[in-house]
Symmetry: C2
Subunit: 428 residues, 2 copies
């Protein structure tokens, strides 16, 4: 039996863990697929970095592109993680050379997935990216295979473990965003250098784009839509939400509304007794509405090298079993683009928190402005800060559309008694 | 392009729904697999039963075995549902004729899965049964494919929607087991004729056997183990559990303990704030511990023709994509039998409810008997029924093994002041 030659490009936290898994599970892979694997080339920026295994210099390449010149590779793992640059180059080159590619790289897939899937189909190889969304949760395979004939109308969930950890820990430890962020960085739950892409919703949005494409058999959308992160959530918001029997969660949501695509990522107030409110810490969860299957929920570890490797290995086994398929479930030629839902029409109950000078008339100015934009108040709480002659005013509105809410927030800017841009959180 | 010929045997609730799905989703199937399907033979006991589609008499067979004599069939759906008899015969015959088989029949697979999978492997066809466990939840495919290289150590969950509906509704409506059972039968959640196999744990146990086999790469076990249903749960138990901050759930659990297989199905007291306690109504949920993936949770509709058809269709697409694989993930030749864990060693905190005559000394007799078997009491509640000169005594014990608990229950039998066999529910 001939061996399957594997190249592994990128030996960071994930590549490192994967390398060990591949070595440890060789027999298991043979047992389940009848195929022997051989790691025949590896590549990383720095050969001398401390790793969990000794690097075999004979198979090491500093430049990953050189691997493809001098080896017969069957399957390539891309674990570098850039949206462009060498990540895109090596995946592109591999596919053109009829090499199957497996990657956990959501930035690459959400940006270039349309192009790369065409390339894979043209060359009759697989492009697999189960690990790019929700880590160890097999959500992509579930949509592509297990629920393949369902009509999916909505997918949503907690897709960023970093944010979910921070929000959970702010509540539990009663600490500020910044102090919990530091803790998260220490624990390896947030990037030490630049955690911005997790915190501002970008990471969750990339995953939402991939989920939309698979769920609705459409091209990956390029449209800008609603993307908000958790950087402006203060402990005060968590505390007030708590009193109102809510929890704050960063949700990613994609759905078809009147056959238009509506993708969004933003913090939500969710009722404490709901399932999603009780997904804590670094866990991820995805909820999917399909016909005829009904509501399906998947929950698991959304990140970390263990969960990610589990997904990468499932892609490998799928290829080894000869499960050749379209990267996005249907042929690129059959995937259409889809128009976007008009964000201005999106309406929700809203939570506003105003920080104001505690002067007569301020409350009336706020409610007056809201009324002018047809925003009706369901609930109002004023929390005094007598020492500083300030107050927090919390308003829960009846259903309000984005257009009115945005215009209203503009109007508040000119009010000098409102000390900072009001915090807005949408109710789910 | 040649068409794939499909036979559908059994046109009850599931076969009926599936037939419609197959017709409705022909284009979708072609889009996702490149294959055209053709329903070339159907079979049912009664051609005249009212159905959602008109029966094409040209393709109808009263005797399903005759289908295979006169047609070239590629894939057969078995939707009759017997553990033996014609269900076994038609599946056996199809596999021997190199026809792929798809079935939701857990009774058949849990009883004859070892034999039938060997037959499928020998004839190089697929035997698929995703729908046999937890309906629309893709738990089998998740274990076989998505988590294929994980070391799974424990799988448990709510695997019977009928029981979960009854327990949920007893709590919500404050009604007796028998009145809720009637409601369930009216709603189609429990079989009108003989709901016994759902209620006594048999159905959940069949699913546990299949899950064990897939999770631990072992043959389906034949051993008897702990199987208890919910027939003896009274509203009183639900109410008391509630006061103690518990809920009663029928759980199926399989795990490796010291490399021995421990399969069980029984009602459990679960803390109200846990995930599993909040899976309500006819929903199913499966929780799985794997390394390196961590804890993975899947929840969805566990029964009903829609969810079941979704799973059957996923099996069909898997076959059409050419994803030929071992029915239980690894070759039958490589699957070993595994010894059973000694049930007597299983220890839990226990909930006992005694119905007694309210006479002096009865409580002391009970606690004395418990002490004799080394069972130590953590909590005791006595609820008087003064009118009838009776009382309920509820005891929560510290960890107690099965052997001691069973012997103790024997001893209570001779006590005439204990009016019926005490109810025992294990804490989870």
């Amino acid at each position: 039996m001939s061996k399957i030659n594997i190249a592994l490009v990128g030996l960071g936290q994930i590549g490192n863990y994967l390398m060990n898994e591949l070595n440890k599970k060789k027999n298991d892979i043979e047992l389940k697929t009848g195929k022997k694997i051989n790691i025949s080339a590896i590549s990383a920026k720095n050969i001398n970095k401390k790793r969990r295994f000794l690097i075999n210099k004979k198979i090491f390449y500093k430049n990953p592109l050189k691997i493809l010149n001098s080896n017969k590779i069957d399957i390539l793992f891309e674990c570098i993680g850039l949206s462009d640059g060498i990540s895109k180059k090596i995946v592109e080159t591999a596919l053109k050379n009829k090499i199957h590619v497996i990657t956990p790289n959501k930035a690459l897939i959400s940006k270039h997935g349309n192009y790369l899937s065409k390339l894979a189909e043209k060359n009759k190889v697989n492009l697999e990216f189960e690990a790019s969304v929700a880590g160890g949760i097999p959500i992509l395979r579930t949509i592509k295979e297990s629920l393949a004939t369902n009509k999916i109308t909505k997918v949503y969930g907690i897709l960023n473990g970093t944010c979910n950890y921070i929000l959970t820990e702010m509540e539990n430890a009663k600490e500020s965003f910044h102090s919990v962020l530091k803790k998260a960085q220490k624990l390896g739950y947030a990037e030490p250098g630049n955690p911005k892409l997790d915190l501002n919703g970008y990471d969750a949005f990339a995953k939402i784009r991939i989920l939309s494409s698979l769920s609705f058999n459409k091209n990956i959308s390029k449209q800008k839509s609603l993307m908000e992160g958790i950087e402006n959530i203060e402990f005060k918001d968590i505390e007030i939400a708590n009193q109102l029997n809510f929890r704050i969660k960063l949700l990613g949501i994609t759905e078809l509304r009147n056959n238009k695509l509506f993708e969004r990522v933003h913090p939500c107030l969710v009722k404490k007794d709901t399932y999603i409110a009780n997904v804590s810490g670094v866990m991820n969860a995805v909820i999917l509405h399909g016909n005829p299957v009904g509501e399906t929920v998947l929950q698991g570890e959304g990140a970390g090298p263990g969960a990610t490797s589990s997904a990468l290995m499932s892609d490998l086994l799928s290829i080894l079993r000869g499960n050749i398929k379209f990267p996005f479930g249907v042929s690129s030629r059959k995937r259409k683009s889809i128009r976007s839902y008009d964000l201005n029409k999106y309406s929700n109950s809203l939570y506003f928190r105003f920080e104001v000078n505690d002067k007569p008339g301020v409350l009336s100015q706020i409610t007056h402005t809201l009324a002018k934009r047809n925003i009706s108040v369901e609930r109002l709480i004023q929390i005094p800060d007598n020492k500083n002659k300030k107050a927090s005013i919390i308003i829960i509105t009846h259903k309000t559309n984005e257009l009115d809410a945005n215009k209203c927030l503009q109007l508040f800017k000119t009010n000098k008694n409102i000390l900072k841009i009001p915090t807005r959180i949408r109710l789910f």
